[in-house]
């Protein structure tokens, strides 16, 4: 026992462990606060109420779909920023992070400006195809994707920069187009980075509130995700809101712990 656990390196330094523990406490104690104050007796009732179940299901579905959208659009975008020989990459990269800074409600308004019924693009979608995105589940997915995509793009771009481009060159000398090289050589080699980005992206989409309610509105079963349900519950029954948050939180920690353990702690 002792021998198996003997440390190669000396004691953990207090000067690092202390702030680390404080930091951990800072992040976790508020959650403990929530858990302590949550009216647990109402949990089963809440959990099995159909509206909560519906909101939870909708949240998971929309966050997952938004993540898929982010993957489909964001991974190529990350590739373009990391490898494509485009001018003004620095500014582009900074612009990509903008949805991070924009208050989500304003992000929702911006989406309405563009994709709303009278929006720059939306008016034609409506007039030509009869497609209207606001107030639909598709709108929720779009709003979540808009807010969450920067995380994916920045993570994947980082992984791409760290990947050795010589493998892509090797693939090229074997006759592989850039697309094939990307798909069969680069992507598998940066998979852990993509998974990490996906996790951040999914978590952000799951928690998204402001842009969603602004762009997609709030209609039970169609656009009411958990954060919206939490917000409305806060208006009338703060305790219920806390229980809902805790439910959302447990589900996401479960998913993240499973995923991250599997994918990310592998190499270390």
């Amino acid at each position: 026992m002792t021998s198996a656990r003997r440390r190669t390196r000396g004691r953990l330094p207090v000067v690092l462990v202390l702030p680390a523990v404080v930091g951990l406490a800072f992040l976790l104690v508020p959650l403990v606060g929530l858990l302590v104050r949550a009216p647990w007796d109402t949990l089963p009732e809440q959990l099995f109420s159909s509206s909560v179940g519906e909101a939870l299901r909708l949240s998971l579905v929309c966050a997952s779909l938004a993540t898929v959208v982010c993957l489909v659009l964001g991974v190529p975008l990350a590739w373009l920023l990391a490898r494509g020989d485009v001018p003004g990459r620095g500014v582009l990269r900074a612009l990509v992070t903008v949805p991070l800074v924009l208050p989500p409600v304003v992000g929702g308004v911006a989406l309405l400006f563009v994709l709303g019924r009278r929006g720059l693009v939306g008016q034609y979608l409506d007039a030509w195809f009869g497609i209207s995105l606001p107030f639909t589940t598709a709108g929720v997915v779009l709003a979540e994707a808009f807010v969450a995509m920067p995380f994916l793009v920045i993570s994947v771009e980082g992984a791409l920069r760290a990947a050795d481009p010589r493998y892509e060159e090797a693939a090229a000398t074997l006759g592989a187009s850039r697309w094939l090289a990307f798909r069969r050589v680069t992507l598998p080699s940066i998979l852990p980075g993509v998974v990490a980005g996906t996790v951040l992206c999914w978590a952000r989409a799951l928690g998204e509130f402001g842009a969603t309610i602004t762009f997609a509105g709030n209609f039970p079963g169609e656009t009411t995700t958990m954060p919206l349900a939490v917000y409305l519950a806060l208006e009338t029954d703060p305790d219920a809101a806390i229980v809902l948050s805790v439910v959302l939180l447990l589900v996401s920690v479960g998913v993240l712990a499973a995923l991250r353990d599997r994918w990310i702690s592998g190499p270390s």
Binding site: V109, G116, F135, I213
Partner: protein, 236 residues
């Protein structure tokens, strides 16, 4: 006294008065605060505008507030139940719903009956928030089954959707219609059933109890009522 003007008690008040007020009072209370400060040199009014329920939550968690002006009696009750207010809350303003339509009224909305039209895009407040509860009463009175496309979490979100033409009609407060030139208001007969009271009260843990009382008096003074009325509130 309810009718005393701010100037009469000016000598007794000083320091800082912290007012927690519903976001829908932002414009009027900011103006009233300026008036109050002008009338009471040496007094500083500090506002914390936010959602009424969030404010109630903050007060119950020990926030340093002297006055709470809520957009709904329910939130005032939450604070009162926790023993947070000193004395009784009084209603200082009332608001009522109006139909809001985008400029030019493209869908030709005329009354509550149009809210049952499946083709029209309709936005309402969620029932959990006061404007949603009021809207529900209106539709019950009118015997209309509304077919909303969205149930917004606050009235400003509803208003945004009307402004941008995302919806053809919505129910919002009259004050909201007044606040922007970009929507048109349509009054409807059942609006009497939708009146919403704005209660105000000094708080038990107030650090400046005198200032709190003076500010409430100022709000309820003639000058205060004029400002509120100008914004579209009914003043009792």
């Amino acid at each position: 006294g309810a009718d005393s003007s701010g100037a009469e008690v000016g000598g007794a008040v000083d320091g800082r008065v912290t007012v927690f007020a519903a976001a829908s009072l932002t414009e009027t209370f900011t103006r009233l605060g300026e008036d109050f400060e002008a009338a009471h040199p040496g007094v500083e009014v500090v506002f914390n505008f936010g959602g009424s329920s969030a404010l109630a939550q903050q007060i119950n968690q020990g926030a340093p507030a002297d006055v709470f002006a809520s957009a709904a009696p329910a939130n005032m009750t939450q604070v009162g139940d926790a023993g947070g207010i000193s004395g009784a809350a009084v209603t200082f303003a009332r608001n009522r719903l109006e139909i809001a339509v985008p400029k030019g009224n493209p869908a030709g909305i005329t009354g509550l009956a149009d809210f049952g039209d499946a083709d029209a895009k309709i936005a309402l407040c969620a029932e959990q928030v006061p404007c949603g509860a009021a809207a529900k009463r209106a539709f019950e009175a009118a015997g209309v089954t509304a077919r909303p496309d969205t149930l917004e979490q606050d009235v400003k979100a509803v208003l945004t959707k009307v402004r941008l033409g995302e919806v053809d009609a919505a129910l919002v407060y009259r004050t909201d219609v007044r606040s922007t030139g970009e929507v048109e208001g349509i009054e409807f007969p059942e609006a009497d059933r939708t009146v919403n009271d704005y209660p105000i009260a000094p708080l038990a843990k107030a650090r400046n109890a005198a200032g709190a009382r003076a500010f409430i008096d100022h709000v309820r003074s003639d000058r205060g009522r004029a400002v509120l009325a100008e914004a579209g509130f009914d003043t009792p």
